[in-house]
Structure formats: C-alpha cells, structure tokens
Symmetry: D2
C-alpha cells in the first residue's frame, strides 16, 4: 500500500484524493488545506486524517504527496517533498516562472526522487489512444498537428490577473499535448497572436481570451493550436494529426448518444461541458500511472522537464503575441 497525502482539497484535490482512496494499491492517509472545512470534508469522505500544510509533507507515514494547492506554492512544495524523499505528483504548472521551475527541478534531480506533472489530457482515453496509434505508425510520419481547445465560459478577471495569462494558464495544456504528439521532435519556432474578443474586461486586465499559435519543429513539422475562453456549445477539446499515411483525430464527448431529427435538422447532444466530467477517466488513469510508476516502472511522465518545456513554449507564445514577432527556441 502506497500511503498518500493530498495537499489542497479544492475541486482538483478532491478528485485526486478520491482516486487515491479508491485505488487498490494506495491509501489516502492525510489531507491538508488552509480552508479547514474543505480538508475535513475530503478527509471524512475518504477516511483520511486532516493535517496541516506545515507538517504533512514530511510525515513518515506518507510515501507520496499530491500537490493540488495554488500555483504559487507548487515549486516550494515540490522541493520540500523531494527533500523529504517523497514521490511527488504536482498539478500543472510547476511555476509561472521558467527560471523558478529550473531551480526546482534541480532540487528534485539532486534528491533523486520521483516527480510527475499533472498534464491530465495525456491520460484521456481518446487522446491516449490517438497518441498510441501515432507512435505505432498508423498514420505514418506526423506532418501537421491541429489542436482546438475552448472553455465553456471565461474565468473571472480576478482569476485572469494571477493566472499568468492565457498562454501559460490555458494553452499550456495544448502545448504539452503538441509535444506529446510530436514524439520527440521539439518545436523551435513559435508564432502567436491573441485578442480579447470574448470579454473586454479580460483585455483591460492585460490578457487575451482568444488566441492561436503556429509552431514549427526542428524537423519542419507544423502545429496549429487555437484557444477560446468561451464556447456556447460546451468544453471543446479536439485533436487532429495529418500524417504521411493518413489522418487521425479525436473528437468531443457528447452528453449522450441521443439524436433528434426534425425540420431544424438532426441534432446531437451538446458536448460535455465541465472539465471534471470530461476528464474524469483521464484523472483516474493519471493517478494509476503515478502509482504504477512508484510500484514498478520508475517511469514518471509527464516529467518535470515536460513541465519546464511546456512552460517555455507558453513563455514564447506570450512574448510572440505581445511583440508581434516569432520567438525561436
């Protein structure tokens, strides 16, 4: 039994905490959150203890920690976990500053402890299947990658102000996905454009709500990503890869398979519109992979380096959108 502590009992902490509690090879030992009722509720639901953030990382009865706290605390907690010899799972991003990520990864490397970063979409059964088939060569060499990602609703401006901006907060998932699908061929050139078309307040806060990037890799492969902070039709998450032998894509998940036909046309159900529902299976598979890594494989992907590289791409995109010039990596 791998003994788990979860740091942060917000909505993502609750997901990971419950997955830990239900896992046959894991046991949720402790939960910490500055907001006591949240910690208590999750502890009660899972049979774990409530602990303080000050002491939970270093507990001797804990093998692994799940960092689900606000972004600003991630790097410090990762370093504490590594120094305490714990296996660490940390929600993305490691930090909004790439140099800070580098320092943090240095500490982890020195400690020689496991670190896995929570790019959950890699574990979505649809995207994971697509990626496996790419790796198996089903569509030949990857040539063009198209990733579309739209949120159902824009976040409040208060969130936007501390988010690091759309590229670091939202598109970082797609940038990681692009790297995941490129099978090792890294982007070397980043063109980005962004606009505030959805909510003028987001623009006034200095961020964009609609954006796209164009990436070119070392081998000349091309990636297009587009994001919007608002989609009236749900949480839109799609991937398409054009290869030398064919095209492969993974589409949205609809609420049901029901379709209605009448004079207006043939209407399929809206797509699932909440990320916790859309990616419920992904979160389970992600936690499974973390446990599997601890138990047997000692392979932890996405790695800290994956976190750093995605962050650097997000930095580059942010700079490109601001300067109007491409950024080379």
């Amino acid at each position: 039994m791998i003994r788990i502590a979860v740091l942060g009992a917000g909505r993502i902490g609750r997901i990971h905490g419950r997955n830990a509690a239900n896992h046959p090879d894991a046991r949720l030992v402790a939960v910490a959150d500055p907001h006591a009722p949240s910690a208590q509720e999750l502890a009660a639901a899972t049979g774990a203890e409530v602990a303080s953030l000050e002491t939970i990382v270093e507990r001797s009865d804990v093998d692994a920690i799940l960092i689900c706290t606000p972004t600003t605390t991630h790097a410090d907690l990762i370093e504490r976990g590594a120094r305490a010899g714990k296996a660490v799972f940390c929600e993305k991003p490691v930090d909004l500053s790439s140099p800070r990520i580098e320092t943090c990864l240095g500490v982890v490397e020195k400690a020689g402890t496991p670190l896995m970063i929570g790019f959950n979409r890699r574990f979505d059964p649809n995207f994971a299947s697509l990626r496996k088939r790419l790796a198996d060569g089903e569509v030949g060499e990857v040539e063009l990658v198209t990733i579309l990602s739209r949120d159902p609703n824009p976040p409040p401006v208060s969130y936007v102000l501390t988010s690091g901006g759309l590229f670091r907060d939202m598109m970082i998932h797609d940038l990681d996905m692009a790297r995941f699908l490129l099978l090792g061929d890294e982007p070397v050139e980043v063109h980005a454009v962004g606009s505030s078309l959805v909510d003028p307040a987001i623009g006034q806060a200095g961020d964009v709500d609609t954006a796209a990037v164009l990436l070119k890799t070392a081998k000349g492969r091309i990636v297009q990503i587009s994001n919007s902070r608002r989609a009236t039709y749900g949480y839109d998450q799609r991937i398409e890869v054009h290869g030398s032998k064919g095209m492969i894509r993974a589409g949205n998940v609809h609420r049901t398979t029901v379709e209605v036909a009448n004079g207006s046309g043939v209407t399929a159900d809206p797509v699932q519109d909440f990320f916790l529902q859309r990616y419920a299976d992904a979160y389970k598979a992600e936690f499974d992979a973390f446990i599997e890594g601890i138990k047997t494989t000692r392979k932890f992907e996405p790695t800290g380096q994956d976190g750093l590289k995605a962050q650097r791409l997000a930095d580059a995109a942010t700079e490109s959108a601001q300067t109007g010039k491409p950024v080379k990596l």
Copy 2:
C-alpha cells in the same frame, strides 16, 4: 442514337425526358401528354415533337418508349409498345392487379421485346454501392435486412383512393429493395401491420399511413420494413443489412455538410426532402442502364418479373394487414 418517346410529361416524365435529351447515345423524339401545355413545355425544353398518345407508341422513328403516365394505363401501353417492337421502360407499378401484370408480361414475352421497370432506388449510388458490396461478400451472408422509408408529407386523400393502398403504392419500393438485397433468396412469409396515425382521413379512406412488414425468406433470412407517410425531418430513406461478417448501411443525404454547435447541441442539416432531388442521380443512372441494355447488354433489370414479384409481396402485405394473419408465398 436511340430514339426515345416519352409518354406522360408530368414531373416524372420531365425527369426521364430530360435525361433522354441529355444522354449522348439517345435523342428525345416525341412527347405525349393529354395535358397539352405539359407536353409542349417538355418538348420545347428538349427539342422534341409533341405527339398524341394514340400514335406515339407505334411511330417508326421511335426505338424506345418511356411510360410515365398514370398507373391504370401502364399495362396497356406496355403491351402496345411490345407489339410495336419497342424497348419499353415503365414506371412502377406495371398495374395494381397482379393477374393483369401476368397477362401483360405474357404479351411482352411473346413479343420478345425489352422491358424494364422503374424501381429507381436500385440505381441510387448509395444503395447501389451497398448492394454491390453485399454481392461481393463484404459482410458475409445476409441475415437481417432493415429498411426504413418515410415520406415528408402524406398525400391527399384523392390520391390515396386510387393508389392501391400504402403497401402497393409506397412500400412496393422497399419490397423491391428487399428482394434486390436478398440476392435471389425470395421472401416466403409476410406479416404486416398498418395503422392510420398520421391523418385520420387516410384511415377513413380505408388505407393506412404507418405500416411495417416482417418477411422471412426461403433460407430463413429476415427482413423488416417500416413506412410512414410523414416525417417532419425530410425524406427518410435508409437501409441496413446485418451479415455474418459485419453490418453495412446507407444513410440519408443531407442538404449540405454544414453543422452548427451551440447550447442546443450539434445540428446537422435536415435531410433532402424531395424525392426528385434525393434520387436525381438514381434517375440518371436508371436511364443510363436502360440505354446500355438496348445498346449492348440486352439485360434489363429490374425486369417485368421483378415488377410482378414486388406486386405480389405488396398484395400479401395488404392482405396480412387486413386479416391480421401472415400470408405464405
């Protein structure tokens, strides 16, 4: 150049007349219709002459006739055409009475002239492709055939009264399609039920507007057909065949490929709702097959026997729906 005369310049006569006029190996020579303006209009549009129904069949400058007149005249015209040595294409049905069809086919057989019956759906590119793949064994042995057919709107009661009833007027197309898909294994048992759910006036006129049949073939294969005289979403024409190695189906044709996603779901365009549009390509391919038969193959399908067998199935279905008992063939 095969010289063609078209009998009947209503909407189906116009279709065939224009296909004849545009065919590289055919020439539309003459058009007849008791309604003079209709004949004149089609003649003007195609460069053909207007002729009378009394004399058009026997003209020496005509090689083949297309019978697009009302059903009650079909058998007589076929016989006239056969006796005059013409190749005859006749819209379905040969007649509403199976015995009358038998007599008519006897005349044709004696004359040794070509006869082709207008079951246009066999020539629809989608259904024809499906049938070809069935014949090629792509899904193995046929086991279950499902045919759905719904008209956009019910006909007027005046039409219903002379139509021969839904099974002979509408379902006969599906019964022919079933035979087409069964590749020679004939239905031997017919169960039918019918109701008047769409328009009470149709029920009062002694007919049904919603119906289904269940057929069993000599080899135990099973066919299900359902019809409705009204579909709010267009002209619904679908086929599905379950075989020992897989399932094959042909769906509806939508007006465009456009889809719109919003909070109500993802809506594809309505299906095409007019049979002349839906089957425009089928009518062309049907005429091509008739000309090809005359020119080279001497093979004319659907044959007069196909017309007769579909009619017998429609008779059986009518009887079964009226008596509540299956009919053996």
Copy 3:
C-alpha cells in the same frame, strides 16, 4: 445506511455488490454463493461477510437483498425475501414460466414489500434520456419504434438449452424497452419469426439465433425489434422512435472518439463489445434507483408487473415464431 445482501457472486453479482459497497447510503453486509471462492473474493473486495444462501435472506441485519443467482432460483428467493420483509432487487427474469411469476408476485403483493426487476437498459443514460424526451413530448406522439439488439458472440449450446430460448432470454430486454418507450400503450398483437443462421448447433438445440418481432399496440402504434446472437462489430444496442413531430434515436457507444482516415475511408472505433462495460453506468443508476426507492420514493420500477408483462410478450413471441401465426394479447 441501508444494509444489503447480495445473492450470487458471479459477474452480475459482483457488479451489484460493488455498486452497493460504493454507495454512500448503502453498506454491503453479506454475500452468498454456492461457489465459495466467488463469495469470498467479492466479500474480501467489499468488506462484507460470506454467508450461506440458506440463511442470508432472513438475516436481521439485512434490509434489502439483491438476487443475482441462476434464473431457476429467482422466484423462490423473491418469495423468501418478501416473507422476511426485505426489499428485493431481482435480476431479470423472475422466472421462465409466466404462471410461476404470477404466483410469486402474489406473495410479494401480500407481503407488501418492495420488489424491483433488473431491466438494466432502462437506466442506460442514453436510453433514459431518450425516454425522458419522449415523455416530454419532444417528438410528439410515438408512432413507430425500432429496436436493434445484437450480441457480440453466441452463447454456448449448454446455456441455450436452459435459457428459455432467445425470446425469453435475450429479446425480453427489448420487449421491456418497447413497453418502456410506449408510455403505457400496451402491445396487443405479436408477430415473430426466428431462424438459426449463426450457429447450426443452436438450431439443433431447438432455439433460434436470429429473430425479429412486429408488435402492434392497442392504439395502433407499431414496434419492430430484431436480434442477432452475433455481431462482428461489437455489442449493438440501438433505439429509434418515429413520432408525429420528429424522430429520436440513441446509438452505440464507441470505445473512443478516435477516427482514422486513409484510402479505405474514415474509420471510427468499434463499438464497446462487452455488456458490463456498455452498461456500467446503467447498473450504477439502477442500484441508485433501488436505494432511492427504499429511502424516499417507495416507487420501484421496473416492477414485478413489468417483469410479468415482458415475460408474456416473450412467451407470445416464442409461440408466434413456432406456429407461424400472430398471438393476440
């Protein structure tokens, strides 16, 4: 906490047992199975006790029993449960004999205890949504119901011999679904045909492996159901309802949303092919409804009467297929 005992620890017993163990308002107390290792395994996984079938029903620490044993034992166990004052959930069918079901339901009625029958498909999110929209009038009056159901692989002949035949064993689900979708308008006329096309051994055992029924209701509505014991493409479960205002359908669930395009066409993933996977959510929702019934609503659907009526339709279909004549109800 509602205290649950599960009778039968085979694959369906394990599903219900685990759902009970995971339910926030239920506790799995005891498990019984003549095959001791099965009972022990499920008990170990859920923290329940192993008990004997002889004593488990009458235990005072049990509020509700889940009957997941072989069909021949269902009616007796339901009666024991009712007499002991327990809420009873029983897998379909109550019994293969309709008279036996009637006797059993009499005992339950006298006891005044809850009974719910496990027609799991009513709880499938897709079908449940379709049914809700029907009930809400989204497509107007129901006119034609089409239900297709195919198993991935035929059962062994040993199973066929004690199954009661395809209509009672397999199609009973579709017959219940038809009743569910007809919103109270009961079938009064049953036409059935069946063949052995999949496995000759099934025919030699006196059963069919390919079958279809045609039902007519009191109000003239029409239902078509077709079954096959083998589908190369997975577990095929589809419903389509044609109504006065439109058409509604619920399709299959594919393994993923991935599609691959190449010279062969555009290929979607196969449909899910194992009923426990396809209906995992349905089983959960079904158990939720049972618990909700006990806790608050005192409404238990599908009822014992639903079980009886589906059985009578299956009996009628069996008779019709054997005699070649329709059966009136």
Copy 4:
C-alpha cells in the same frame, strides 16, 4: 441569350464550356485552344465553333469570355476582353505578380466592363450555406476561422516550378475563403511557415508542400489555414468558424453514405478525391452567378479586387515563410 467564348479547352475550360452550353440563358459560340484537338473536342461536344486565340476575344458575336488558359496569359486576355467591351470571367489567379494585377485591374476599371474571378469554392453549396449563415449572424461575431485544405496528391515538380509556389497556387483559395468568411474585416498580419515533408523534390525546387498561416485581422479576429499537397484519404476541404454564439463547420463530401461495421470499426466511405467532382456543383453555381451578373445584377463577385487582395495575402505568406517573420498589410 448571352454568347460565350471559352479560351482554353483543358479540364477547367471543358467544365466551364459545358456549363455554358447547358445554361438556359447562355450559348457557347466559340472555343479556342492552341492544342487543336482539345478545342475541336469541346466544340464538337457543345456545338460551338473552333476559333483562334488571336481573334476570339474581339468577335462581335461574343458577349462574354471565359479565360481558362495558363496563368501567364490571364492578365493580357483580361485586358483584351475589357478593351473589346466583353464581360470577362477569369480563372484564378489574375497573375502571379501583384503589380501586374494592379495594372490589369486599372485597364478593366477604365473600360468599365465586368470582371469576375474564379474562386470556385465560394460557390460550393456547403461553404456558401455556411457563409450565408455567418452573414445572417447564426453564430454571432466571427472570432476564430479554421480552414483545412489538402490535395490528394502532390503535383509534378515541373508544375511546381511555374506555379508561383504553394501559397500563390494552392493556399490562395483558402486565403480568399478566409476573406469571404471574415465579412469585410481584412487580415493585417500574416505569419506563415512551410516545409517540404511530402516530396523532397518539391523542396529542392524551392517550394514547400506542407504549410500553415496564422492571420490576424484589423478587429483582432484570428484565422488559421493549413495545407498539404498530399492526403491519402482524398481531397480534404473543411472550414470551421468559431463565433460568439456558436460554432459552424462544413465538412467533406463522402463518395456515398455507405458505412460498414466490423471488428475494425465503423468505416465511412472515403471523401471525394477529385476537385472537379468535389466542386462540380460549385462550378455550375459560379457560372450561374456570372450569367446572372450580366443579365441583371451587374454584381460580379469575386471581383478583381478580391483577386488582388488574395494575391497580396499569398505574397505576404510566401515572404513570411521565407524570412521567418510576420508580414504586416
């Protein structure tokens, strides 16, 4: 009757020539092509005369000319047509040089004669319907436009060498489509990347075969276009527009509606793979619009200015891909 002359009897000239010959308000008078057999074949098939390129434009019995000759001759022929007072339809592009286009448009403007440029995709029924719905506000304000376009097979290097490069030869269609969908909001910033991934010989010839552009408009809207010279699955032509009220897209046209399900999945037919088939209806509608312009509306779209603006975008994309820097317009 509008009297038409067609210049160039290659495959696109034959399309337009036949559409002219079949149009109720037009008559094909003359055909010219340096390759005499091509001119003779088209003339024979349509009842037109063969004429010489030297004299065909200025004939007094010609009202309108269709320029379907090689690109290098377009601007001269347009000018001759304008000076002779003819209505001119010219295949894209007007010229590979934007300054030459400007001069040519000056001549046309001075002559005051009609000019229409052959961006056929605007007339595709699917794309035209999508655009109409955009203009009707069905998805609100346009925010993100995604255009995917892939050819089935790369052209020979000999063609590539004189084509002006992928951006001017192939992507110009998509650049015009982008402008068409942006409803007047012009792109002002062009980022392009290109690679030779399909055929190394194309790269050696100084061109790319895989490319993408990222456009930003004056109002901050974003457009993504991607092209490949090779798609194993057919001629891929798709558009998707994300708007403030929803998303609208137009997909590919498949050869038939047939789908086959088996253990490999559910396979739809390949998409149509020849542009003359895919856009047959578009070419008809395009010619109809030209004739309608002459007859009544005096509105000719796409205009010469549309041709020029698309060319400038293609120039900008070419420059951006070569320099690695965005180009402002």
